[in-house]
């Protein structure tokens, strides 16, 4: 009987589709994604000079998306994250650089940069402090994007655009829990009014996210004999010196604590953006003690910006953006093995902390020389003052006494200047040529020049051919280039990382359906990696005074170096659309990519990065009163684990599929109440990260342990709109 009802429902919906066939052209125009990140001006996604996709608020809700990382995984094209149980990492087109803390993707919120200059990183997970209810859409630009944005946009740019007050009017309360480990509570509001005669709007959301768990089981690792004590190593403060790390559930070291808030005020052409987030999280996979709640990281970000746009004449438009940002971080590492501690101590705590501020002014102008939008020049400058400070210390856990006089740390400030220009030339109705260049001046390095050249051509109805050449760079962070810790010596002459990329793609629109096929080739050079010094280099470093901390023989120091080149090429495809008058929505994307790291004459596959990955989704919108059902699947091919070269055979993470089934809608009987129920399931039980202290083969531990995966979770959420 249910089958007959379902068949009848489908038949009626498809009949409606047939009746409405004549409006498919209009539906197609209305489904065109409008993007503004790739060119810093609004344009159709198919015309943008890079692969740009737009993830709508409706999609985020329908497919149970809770973080930016989930959005790129389940809805993005050629982009994917990887959960390292310590904030996560994001890559694109088959390249993922482990340990980069998100520094190769530029994350913007309403155009404001989230990446900090101290470490260059940012987070895309629950610590990003981006409430999904307030998000209007997320724009993802894949491929080098430094031509307009400068450093960090090597994988691309993720720009989170928050809602205008008209789409967020009134007040609302939100409660969501991933049972039973997390709770998110939030309150949001939006209002429109007149202020001194001008239309004004305000939107805001405050929220608090707390997570405790999951209590994942870590396989036992035998760290063997501690070279200092000559006895089996100790891997917790209270535990026995038996050489065993793990072998039980971690019940203390999986937590997140994150309050955050966003406020946006728009009056006429003036926009004020304020954002703050505190993010405290555990590091359960650390090489130090097992399951110690004190090991972790805390970060604070505060962002303020004021934007103003002026239309001077039909030829000239100018805009100004003043910004002031602050970032602080503190990292705690807990060890109870003598080999990890200085001066022959058996237990020690390491703490590194840092702050950064950056404030500046960006001026941008757009010149429509012939007042017909065919020959437009955009030019801008961005002047920035920034400062960083760091401290590092190692102390005795019980007394808090420092083992040694801590190194001075960083306390530096400087000014940077960047200038960019992009020329748009539309010689015919169907062709657009864009060429741009940006020069970034950083006192720590020489000037970096970043070009982009893109041609878009519409050869037939609904079709767009795009070919582009673009570059990007990442200035090594202050921490990488100018800082040293007790176990890491100062880098020597670090250069900016660079990437150059050539892309070709075809977009085709047929009614509400869109198809994308593209190919790319990119070359990454001077990649910065934390290199382990050889025995001789370590001895030399100690002898030359590059570290004042004597360690037990056998412990190696590290240093950031420009070590490798990556060759990356592949194809990406995507299709999305709607049937049954928009009641049945679907999407599919697949990326196949090769990424080879070339270093010291050797060519190896990049760890953690999959060669085949993508996502698929389907949603059925039954109507206003009935629930919407969305099913998203993210699939990742097998991939080598990080640090896999230290083991024979190298460790591989298995292929995985993550499924997300979401039911959402308005609650019956209670006006203003809506709900969302999400079921998450992962087919794999292991991820691609080597966890614990054994990071290369030991006689006592020849095989690595990969990070466990939380396989099944249920999330329930309620929202009440007043």
């Amino acid at each position: 009987m249910y089958a007959w009802v379902a068949a009848g429902l489908l038949a009626s919906l498809f009949a409606r589709t047939a009746a409405a066939q004549d409006v498919s052209g209009l539906e197609g125009l209305l489904s065109e994604q409008i993007v503004s990140t790739a060119s810093k001006q609004a344009e159709g996604a198919s015309s943008a000079p890079a692969l740009s996709t737009n993830l709508s608020a409706e999609d985020l809700r329908m497919y149970g998306i809770r973080t930016v990382a989930e959005a790129v995984d389940f809805l993005g094209i050629a982009v994917g994250s990887s959960d390292n149980l310590s904030g996560g990492e994001v890559g694109a087109r088959g390249v993922l650089l482990t340990g980069d803390k998100g520094s190769h993707f530029l994350l913007l919120v309403d155009g404001q940069t989230m990446n900090d200059p101290l470490r260059g990183g940012t987070t895309f997970g629950s610590g990003a402090g981006i409430p999904m209810e307030l998000v209007d859409h997320i724009e993802i630009v894949v491929g080098p994007g430094s031509v307009l944005y400068g450093s960090n946009a090597m994988f691309g740019i993720v720009n989170v655009v928050t809602k205008r007050a008209k789409d967020y009017s009134g007040a609302r309360l939100i409660v969501e829990s991933t049972l039973p480990i997390s709770l998110r509570v939030g309150a949001g509001a939006g209002a429109e009014f007149k202020l001194l005669g001008a239309p004004t709007e305000i939107t805001t959301q405050l929220e608090y996210f707390k997570q405790s768990g999951p209590n994942l089981f870590f396989e036992a690792e035998n760290t063997g004999i501690d070279p200092f004590t000559g006895q089996p190593g100790r891997n917790s403060r209270a535990g026995a010196a038996d050489g065993i790390w793990g072998g039980q559930r971690a019940t203390h070291s999986s937590y997140v604590d994150s309050p955050s808030g966003i406020l946006r005020i728009v009056r006429g052409n003036t926009e004020l953006h304020l954002q703050g987030v505190y993010y405290r999280h555990a590091s359960p996979t650390t090489t130090g003690d097992f399951d110690d709640s004190a090991a972790g990281e805390r970060e604070t970000r505060a962002i303020a910006s004021l934007k103003q746009r002026f239309v001077v004449s039909t030829m000239l438009e100018v805009s100004a953006r003043a910004y002031a940002n602050y970032y602080s971080t503190r990292n705690d590492f807990i060890a109870s093995r003598g080999e990890l501690c200085p001066f022959g101590n058996v237990t020690c705590d390491y703490r590194s902390a840092g702050t950064a501020h950056w404030l500046g002014l960006e001026l941008q102008s757009s010149w429509d020389w012939f007042r017909d939008s065919r020959f437009v020049t955009m030019a801008g400058v961005d002047a920035r003052q920034r400062g960083v400070s760091t401290t590092t210390d190692a102390f005795e856990a019980e007394t808090g006494r420092s083992f040694y006089h801590p190194p001075a740390g960083l306390n530096r400030s400087d000014a940077t200047l960047a200038a960019y220009a992009e020329q748009t030339f539309a010689p015919t109705q169907s062709a657009v040529l864009k060429g741009g260049v940006r020069v970034d001046s950083d006192p720590r390095f020489g000037a970096v020049v970043t070009p982009r050249l893109a041609l878009g051509y519409k050869p037939w109805e609904g079709g767009t051919l795009k070919v582009s050449y673009a570059g990007a760079f990442r200035a090594p962070s202050w921490d990488e280039a100018n800082n040293a810790t007790s176990r890491r010596i100062l880098a020597d002459g670090l250069r900016p990382e660079k990437v150059k990329s050539l892309e070709l793609s075809v977009n085709q629109r047929v009614g509400t359906h869109r198809l994308l096929i593209g190919g790319f080739y990119s070359k990454w050079t001077d990649l910065v990696e934390l290199a382990t010094l050889s025995d001789q280099e370590t001895i030399d470093a100690i002898r030359n005074g590059q570290t004042s901390v004597p360690f037990t023989p056998g412990v190696h120091l590290t240093q950031y170096r420009n070590t490798s080149t990556v060759i990356n090429y592949g194809i990406n495809t995507g299709v999305e659309g709607a049937f049954a008058s928009g009641h049945l929505l679907y999407g599919l994307s697949i990326t196949g990519a090769i990424a080879e790291r070339r270093s010291a004459g050797r060519s190896t596959r990049l760890p953690v990065a999959p060669q085949l990955f993508g996502n698929a989704r389907v949603a059925f919108v039954f109507g206003e009163l009935l629930p919407t059902v969305g099913l998203g699947v993210r699939f990742i091919g097998p991939r080598p684990a990080d640090l896999s070269s230290g083991f024979d055979p190298p460790a591989y993470a298995p292929a995985a599929a993550e499924l997300k089934l979401t039911v959402s809608g308005r609650a019956p009987l209670i006006n203003g109440l809506s709900y969302r129920l999400i079921l998450d399931y992962n087919t794999a039980d292991r991820g691609p990260y080597v966890v614990g202290p054994v990071t290369s083969s030991l006689p006592s531990q020849p095989a690595p342990q990969l990070n466990p995966v939380d396989r099944f979770r249920t999330t329930a959420g309620l929202q009440y709109d007043f």
């Binding site: 009746a19 125009l29 737009n54 859409h137 724009e139 005669g197 746009r309 239309v311 109705q429």
Partner: protein, 214 residues
């Protein structure tokens, strides 16, 4: 000279630092002047933002007009599109020019050959007379018309005419058709009662795609 100026500035700041009350008054005064300047500037420029690119607006106007059951009769052999511009408003002038250029690249508007002209707005009375004389099929209002919308609505009621507004707020105030950007996708808005008054008649299949203001 610059270093001298800087030295003087630092000296004055140090003097002020010894007199916190004077410093507070001075900072407050400067903040107020700055705020007043910003608000003045934004009042001059702030006229409602256009979010949907003009090229997309032009494509949508051209396409949606073909579904208006009265468009063919209204337009005749060649559809006349008037693009209104508010005098002494640079943003309005720029928007009018951009839309005109975008429309000129579209082959047909409402399945008709078309001609578009920019017209400077003077008053609702003059607008009504111009409509009577020139019989446009579509009139487009760019930014800058916020305070004139009621008068415009009254002057075009009971005239067969498709009025189109650049910003979403216009539709609530009586412009028949408008554009909005929701979740990064364009959205059509329609003021249905005003559409009836202006003999704009879309089928239900098209209204289904729009946000309808009754």
């Amino acid at each position: 000279m610059t270093s001298n100026a800087l030295c003087q500035w630092f000296a004055s700041v140090r003097r002020l630092g010894r007199d916190p009350e004077r410093l507070r008054r001075r900072l407050t005064r400067r903040a107020l002047v700055l705020a007043a300047a910003v608000f003045t500037l934004t009042s001059l420029a702030g006229a409602g933002s256009v979010q949907v690119p003009f090229s997309v607006q032009a494509d949508l106007i051209a396409k949606v007009a073909s579904f208006d059951r009265n468009f063919a009769a209204r337009a005749g052999a060649r559809a006349l599109v008037l693009v209104m511009q508010m005098p002494n408003d640079a943003e309005s002038a720029a928007a009018a020019l951009e839309l005109k250029n975008a429309l000129s690249r579209v082959d047909l508007v409402g399945d008709r050959p078309h001609e578009e002209q920019i017209v400077a707005y003077s008053s609702s009375v003059a607008l009504a007379e111009m409509i009577k004389a020139r019989k446009p099929a579509i009139i487009y209002f760019g930014p800058g018309f916020g305070k004139e919308l009621t008068a415009i609505r009254n002057s075009v009621s009971n005239v067969s005419l498709l009025t189109v507004g650049a910003t979403p707020e216009y539709v609530e105030s009586g412009i028949v058709l408008g554009f909005d950007l929701v979740s990064g996708r364009p959205k059509l808005l329609i003021n249905l009662s005003q559409a009836r008054k202006q003999q704009v008649d879309f089928p239900a299949s098209v209204l289904r795609l729009m946000k309808v203001y009754p």
